[in-house]
Amino acid sequence: MARGQAVPDRRVDLTLEAAFPNVAMATRAVAGVCALTDMKPEHIDEVELGLAEAINNVVEHAYDGREGGEVRVSVLLFPQVLRIDIEDEGRAMDPRLLVDPQLCFDCGDPDSLPEGGMGLALIRQLFDAIAYETRDGRNRMTLTRWLVVI
């Protein structure tokens, strides 16, 4: 079955230099955009958190904390779907990491508590679908969130 590419009703693209202080600029921008939809405030908070984790990972891992890299965040509003694409030209992630990221620790053992390694597990929980691909040196994570219950 041939399926055409859907055109969003509205779109804005954000670009930021890969640096932690800029991440909140992008996540707050997307939270602001979400107010155009019928999303509840707590769902907008979820999008903001999941997106922050994804962009933090680009800054920290794809660009290894080096400055100068560019992160592009595209925000697409379809009638029933919010899609966010996050693109970078840094180190690619092994997409298998996304399959089933775990949060494992033993409540009784303080030493086992996580100081990191929570990002991908959060992203998985906070979006309805996640895709990741690398093409021509460009990595793209696609985060999708349904705006309605189907």
């Binding site: 800054v59 409540c107 996580p114």
Partner: protein, 110 residues
């Protein structure tokens, strides 16, 4: 960034910024670590002003808990809904005691 105050044997550490994210986590870590090295061992972290915490910020709080180890206690107060949600999603709500207000937390630890 951290306003701290002695309340009997309890240290009330109030975050003044709205966000404890990857940009703010290193500064927070330095500040809370200095408090612990300075002798604070029962700490109330007042997050009333904080509307957003990400996993880096939460990781920095966990690191303070680890630094205290078994000789102390660190509890959280004034969690806004997004912060409470993060604790649930990471299941660290099973690890941190939380209180509605800083006063409640100080009373409980005191």
């Amino acid at each position: 960034m951290i306003d701290s105050e002695a309340r009997g044997g309890v240290t009330l550490a109030r975050l003044t910024d709205k966000r404890l994210d990857a940009a703010a986590a290193p500064g927070f870590k330095t500040g809370i670590s200095a408090l612990i090295e300075g002798g604070a061992d029962r700490i109330v972290l007042d997050l009333t002003a904080v509307s957003f915490v990400d996993s880096s910020g939460l990781g920095a709080i966990v690191s303070a808990l680890k630094q205290l180890g078994s000789r102390g206690d660190l509890v959280l107060a004034g969690l806004q809904p997004p912060v409470r949600k993060l604790l649930q999603l990471t299941r660290l709500d099973r690890v941190f005691k939380t209180y509605d207000t800083a006063e409640d937390a100080v009373a409980a630890l005191g």
